[in-house]
């Protein structure tokens, strides 16, 4: 086998080189792998779902086993999701694993990106892979949004309607591109099949391509590593790819899949039968999107009612929170390696990672950004908070409006101070021992040790 490949592809040489590749042994390096394995699960379960789902808005009358909806008019798409959930064996399991995997896919990308950010792993020579990674994050969110819009239930229809309105708000081109994307004024018949093509073909193709590039560049540039004995800018210390790393990664993949299977089997998610079919004149409340669009929803909820008309051009109130702020967030995120390079004037190659405390200002900026996004995400659930704690939603909204301006700044400053103290003391300020050390003297008394 090896001889056959070697004589055709020269495998004897590069296979050995590849199997000897060194992987630094640190748990934080597995976060990206978790994302990759979630994607594997998404593809596997997604293919199964595709075989049963009908991307079709044609109205049908439901006559399946779910009594609450029997006799009701709904789209063929929604009916096929009900059939998948109630009549196809293992169908509900696959659907729920798919949804859980999507949530954890985006979450693991975000945590992986935070690891890369706070350790400075995006610095030269890894700026390209940072850009690829940010693109993957955006496409992952896109896959999530197009995916949960497919069942054509009342909740997903509401999400689509908001997306339509935000798109419509873009000055000058909004109505034109919105009509091109949706095929006319909301609600349109064709949107389900368009989302379907995006969700099962275009976006996965892009993501598979970008993952290939991401891993190819990683392979070429080799891993960065944390500082430690024997570790320099010029080497990588760790375990060989074969057998140790292959075993660990395979094991991790199976464990990730196991967790997703357990969630999909035991924890109900997106029970679309309870929302009912999409009806453009109804809405369910409180309406909650998947967690990774919560920050966009939060921005729409918090932004004040500012709408300007200048020279006959209206800037709708949804434009700034729906288009401008997300655009800025992703632009700053994507360009961060270059922004930081401008500030630090550091044009050297870095293969040793920073600890977050080593670069306090970067850690402060990252903390502020994290708090900003976190507060927006909380704001996306302000109605749920209002219901849960029985507080008027107006109060929560005003509180969060102020918090959004204050908390990131204060949090960033605290992070900066903590980093500075860590640099001096070495211990975490919250975990450091306080007080003085006493010593028993030969005469039986005590003295302080300095």
């Amino acid at each position: 086998m090896l001889k056959w490949l070697d004589e055709r592809l020269g495998a004897g040489h590069w296979a050995r080189k590849g199997l000897k590749k060194v992987f630094p042994d640190h748990w934080a390096f597995l976060l990206g792998e978790v994302a990759l394995f979630c994607f594997v699960v998404l593809v596997a379960t997604g293919v199964y779902l595709t075989l049963f789902f009908r991307p079709d808005a044609t109205p049908v009358i439901y006559d399946g086993p779910y009594r609450a909806l029997r006799g009701q008019e709904m789209s063929a798409a929604y009916e096929s999701v009900l059939r998948l959930s109630f009549e196809v064996r293992a169908g509900l399991l696959m659907r729920q694993i798919h949804h859980w995997a999507a949530l954890i896919f985006v979450a693991s990308i975000v945590v992986h990106a935070m690891r890369v950010f706070f350790t400075g792993a995006f610095r030269k020579p890894r700026e390209i892979n940072w850009l690829v990674g940010v693109s993957l994050l955006i496409f992952a969110i896109g896959m999530g949004f197009t995916g949960y819009s497919l069942p054509d239930d009342l909740l997903s229809g509401t999400g689509l309607r908001i997306a339509y309105s935000v798109m419509l708000s873009i000055p000058f081109i909004g109505p034109y591109i919105t009509f091109l994307v949706f095929g006319g004024e909301f609600p349109t018949e064709g949107i389900i099949s368009r989302l379907f093509v995006m969700h099962v073909m275009l976006l996965p193709a892009l993501v598979i391509g970008l993952i290939t590039v991401h891993l190819g560049i990683l392979w070429r540039q080799k891993h960065a590593q944390f500082r430690g004995p024997g570790r320099t800018e010029g080497n990588v210390v760790g375990k060989a790819f074969w057998p140790s790393q292959v075993f660990k990664s395979t094991g991790l993949m199976l464990l990730v899949a196991a967790v997703l299977a357990a969630l999909g089997g035991l924890v109900q998610i997106n029970g679309v039968w309870a929302y009912g079919p999409f009806d453009p004149t109804a809405v369910s409340g409180p309406a909650q999107p998947d967690w990774y669009v919560g920050w966009l929803e939060g921005g729409l909820r918090l932004f004040p009612a500012w709408e300007w008309t200048l020279f006959g051009v209206t800037i709708p109130s949804a434009f700034v929170p729906g288009v401008v702020i997300p655009g800025l967030v992703f632009t700053i995120l994507a360009l961060w390696p270059f922004i930081e390079q401008r500030i630090t004037k550091d044009y050297e190659v870095h293969n040793l990672l920073d600890r977050p405390r080593d670069v306090p200002w970067r850690t402060a900026v990252g903390t502020a950004g994290f708090l900003y996004m976190g507060l927006l995400t909380i704001a996306g659930g302000n109605d749920v908070l209002a219901l849960t704690f029985n507080i008027p939603v107006e109060g929560i909204t005003w509180f969060l409006r102020v918090a959004l301006l204050v908390v990131p700044v204060v949090g960033g400053m605290i992070a900066y101070r903590v980093c500075k103290e860590l640099q001096v003391g070495g211990d975490h300020p919250l975990r450091r021992r306080r007080g003085t050390v006493l010593r028993r003297t030969t005469s039986g008394g005590f003295e302080e040790v300095h």
């Binding site: 000897k20 060194v22 042994d25 064996r89 509900l92 399991l93 729920q96 309607r161 908001i162 309105s165 935000v166 419509l168 708000s169 873009i170 109505p175 034109y176 009509f179 091109l180 994307v181 949706f182 006319g184 004024e185 080799k222 024997g230 080497n235 375990k239 057998p243 140790s244 075993f247 660990k248 094991g251 991790l252 993949m253 199976l254 196991a258 967790v259 299977a261 357990a262 089997g265 035991l266 453009p280 004149t281 109804a282 809405v283 369910s284 409340g285 729409l300 909820r301 918090l302 009612a305 500012w306 709408e307 006959g312 209206t314 709708p316 949804a318 929170p321 293969n351 939603v393 909204t397």
Partner: protein, 277 residues
């Protein structure tokens, strides 16, 4: 030796779970059981492999040197010289024409994308409401003011267009002396029946909630709140524009009808809404 046994048990557990999963599939439907068995089948295999790797492999720490990624200025210069081949760069005119033809071709190839949707035209400016159109509820029944109790709310459509998304209108009946009609709309609300577009002017959600005690319509999506008594002016939340008001009248049989279509675009704002196409 303990690790070896743990790994072996894990693999056996995985096998048992897989076989049980097959059995469950044929016996009958149980999502929780399927999920649990699948998790055990995958997890047992995964755990065994991880235990094997962590405890039964010596896996010595190895060091690999980074080779410089950069190939150096000389190699770059040679590459640059190769790219800037005389036979290509000398032909400035042809280079420009090739670039030009490529751009025009790209534009021509992009044009079919315009087939994806119609031009907005007047679509966003009007609804199905016309002068004299009766207000009907979801069951297609016309409505007299007295059919609706004070503080009653109903979603209405123009007769013949039940379910029409852009025409959906929320009809509220309030005590007429409470109303503070906008200038010029004094006769739009016969017997306290007042109609507003049900589509939120912020992000287009149907305004689903009516707070009778405050006479406010509330959008459940982003909590925009509108004052029913004062022309649906927004009083809280991100919506900046009042809900458009449908001019109402009574026909000869005493049923509610529209005097005309809405006088302004309904739904979320867009850039040229004050002007028109």
């Amino acid at each position: 030796m303990k690790a070896g046994r743990l790994a072996a048990i894990s693999f056996v557990l995985s096998m048992v779970a897989s076989l049980a999963l097959v059995a469950v599939y044929f016996v009958g439907e149980s999502t929780p059981l399927e999920g649990t068995l699948l998790a055990l089948a995958l997890g047992g295999l995964g755990l065994g492999i991880v235990v094997w790797a962590k405890s039964l492999m010596s896996a010595p720490e190895v060091t690999e040197e980074h080779e410089a990624l950069s190939s150096g200025p000389e190699a770059r210069d040679r590459t640059k010289a190769m790219v800037q081949d005389d036979e290509v760069t000398r032909r400035t005119l042809l280079v420009r024409l090739v670039a030009g033809a490529g751009t025009t071709l790209a534009a021509a190839l992009a044009i079919p994308a315009l087939s994806l949707g119609p031009r907005p035209g007047q679509t966003l400016f009007g609804t199905k409401w016309t002068s004299g159109a009766r207000l009907v509820d979801r069951n297609n029944d016309p409505i007299r003011p007295e059919d609706l109790p004070i503080e009653g709310v109903v979603t209405v459509f123009p007769e013949g267009f039940v379910g029409s998304s852009d025409s959906q209108t929320v009809l509220v009946r309030v005590a007429p002396d409470l109303l503070e009609p906008v200038e010029g709309r004094q006769d739009w609300s016969p017997q306290g029946c007042i109609g507003y577009s049900k589509i939120c002017t912020h992000a287009g959600c149907p305004i689903g909630l009516y707070r009778a005690e405050a006479h406010q319509l509330l959008c459940p999506c982003h909590q925009s709140t509108f004052d029913v008594l004062q022309g649906a002016e927004p009083v809280f939340g991100p919506a900046a524009r009042p809900l458009p008001q449908l001019p109402l009248d009574l026909d000869d049989d005493g049923y509610l009808v529209a005097r005309s279509d809405y006088l302004e675009p309904v739904g979320p704002s867009f850039w040229n809404m004050t002007g028109g196409e």
